[in-house]
């Protein structure tokens, strides 16, 4: 049985080191600009640190994937094109892409450069995957976090390419690449700018005992003293519908699929992705370490696999709102 690859986030050099040291099979990272979907200040790589990071990963036999997975803005196409050139020159193991124009460019100019289809391309079925495979020879696709486990299993059966799924981390409840909520309120979107609910638009304001979070002045949530105040991501706000206040779209919670390792492995999934390039090196170290242990335990004795209580607690502690969910895989809301 080939082991599922553990693909881990690297937002900066210390996180990359943490991922490599704790058992990543591959790390994914982005350049320091809006060509990747975690374009946050203080994150990402360029110049000497980039080379240093690549060297560190390679010295430890860890693969490097570069995410160039936003949609090139028409007036600045050159920036995205240059990023593909650079990724090719760096001889990375794969480039993670979403835009068909960019895939065409890569295919024409660097036919040997392996392409992975980003989750931002929102390919949720095998006909879509076939399109990308036939036209751009993509080797792998990252599956959107909207499919149920049985849909994922079915997709593996029919997919013309290898599949990678999200295993752990923040949960996008919208079909990735098909969400303009952020640009509607702030002018900046994941597709164009690589950001969602950008920090520059956030305000935290005390109003008496209550803490209010706003995004470009739109009230996202109010927290009483003692409540765990989360980052004001639009889809996780508390709003009113029919005069009832609730998390209208989604509760603040993280995805955790550790329970599904046996099913995912049996279905033929090739890789598991840990989300979190925006998280700290300590977070990356903890999460990667626990997942490494879990995968190793599973492959040592698949029939005996059970999720260790300590692993579970570690993941819960670092999760958004200290809650985890199987998300769309189990679909409690179905």
């Amino acid at each position: 049985m080939t082991m599922m690859e553990l693909v881990c986030p690297a937002g900066n050099y210390p996180s990359l080191k943490a991922a490599v040291d704790n058992g990543a099979d591959a790390v994914y990272l982005g350049f320091k600009n809006e060509t990747n979907a975690r374009n946050f200040s203080g994150l990402n790589f360029r110049d000497r640190k980039l080379e240093q990071s690549l060297t560190y990963a390679r010295d430890h036999q860890v693969k490097v994937f570069i995410a160039i997975n936003t949609y090139p803005q028409a007036e600045r196409w050159q920036l995205w094109r240059d990023s593909i050139d650079m990724a090719n020159a760096l001889n990375v193991n794969a480039v993670i892409v979403a835009d068909i124009g960019l895939m065409e460019y890569a295919t024409q100019n660097y036919p040997e450069l392996p392409l992975h289809l980003s989750v931002q391309a929102s390919a949720t079925n095998h006909e879509s995957l076939r399109f990308y495979q036939q036209h751009f020879n993509i080797r792998r696709a990252v599956v959107p976090r909207v499919l149920s486990l049985s849909q994922v299993q079915n997709l593996v059966q029919h997919s013309p390419v290898d599949l990678e799924v999200f295993a752990f981390g923040s949960l996008c409840i919208m079909s990735e690449g098909r969400c303009h909520l952020s640009s509607y309120v702030t002018g900046e979107s994941p597709n164009m700018c690589g950001v969602c609910s950008p920090a520059r638009a956030v305000t935290w304001q005390h109003s008496g005992e209550v803490l209010e979070t706003r995004l470009n002045n739109v009230l996202i949530d109010r927290f009483e003293r003692g409540e765990n105040a989360g980052y004001p991501t639009l889809c996780k706000g508390r709003f009113e519908v029919n005069e009832r206040l609730s998390h209208v779209l989604e509760e603040p919670t993280s995805l955790n699929t550790m329970d599904l390792i046996p099913q995912l492995a049996a279905s033929g999934i090739k890789a598991l992705k840990i989300e979190g390039r925006q998280r700290s090196p300590a977070y990356v170290a903890q999460v990667v370490s626990v997942w490494r242990q879990a995968l190793d335990a599973y492959y040592r004795a698949p029939a005996d696999f059970r999720v260790d209580g300590v692993w579970k607690q570690t993941l819960k502690n670092v999760s958004e709102g200290s809650q985890t969910t199987l998300g769309a895989y189990s679909r409690p809301w179905q």
Binding site: A74, E75, T124, F131, I173, Y184, G187, W333
Partner: protein, 300 residues
Amino acid sequence: MKLSLGPILYYWPRQVVMDYYEKMASTAVDIIYLGETVCSKRREMRLHDWLELADHLTKQGKQVVLSSMTLLEAESELKSLRRICDNGDYLVEANDMSAIQILAERQLPFVAGPFINLYNSPALKVLVEQQMRRWVMPVELSRLALQAIHRGTEEMDIRHRFETEVFAYGRLPLAYSARCFTARAYGLAKDDCNLICLQHPQGMNVKSQDQQEVFTLNGIQTQSAALYDLREEMSEMKHEGVDVVRLSPTLEGMVEVIQAYDDARHGRAIEAVRAEGQCNGYWHQGCGMDHQSSDDLKAD
């Protein structure tokens, strides 16, 4: 410029749909998009109903395009999609790459809908080579982005091979999810939703805790709360070479909206848009929810 009536994004009873299009047949829209794009559980209208309607509207002089689903997860949804693609008569609006793959395999022309992510001219070129005849610009793109895209396609000498359509009126479709938010608002599971969307022919309003209208829930789709309205930007769209202006159906007042856009495209005077509850920010390279009045624009 041509005017199009986009697909109905909400779930309306069959008779309401039939009556609606009967009314639309005598308006000035040139193109009508028919079909379900949001949720495969919405089955008041079946494919043969849409096709009958398509024949009827074609006889009345409208160009009909069949719109297909946006988020396809199940094999049964792909099967329905293939039936739409194999209709034999009508152009299809692809709202997912799966539709483009199926149509391209059959060497059929298509329209790329607003959720096909086309943000630059090299991306457009890929689809033009697959017989894309028209694209609907992603709603978050601005006039400046469109200029750059058109410039790029002119340089590649492909601008004459496709039409550009801009979503100009209606609540903006902003996001799709596997999850149904209307069912969630009622505490219902998606599989037992009781087709609750039928009770919300214009979606459900989402307000912030200080009573600002933010979004509209429409099943698995999230829309803007504000109505996007570019009627005052018609001359700008014309200037940018926009070929088709899309008006997204609302249950009430659509005849008047179409009349206003028809007046605007012919250079006749139109009433100014009320700023409250309206937005046009995306076109002006701002936040989607913003509204710039024409006075602000003149001051620029």
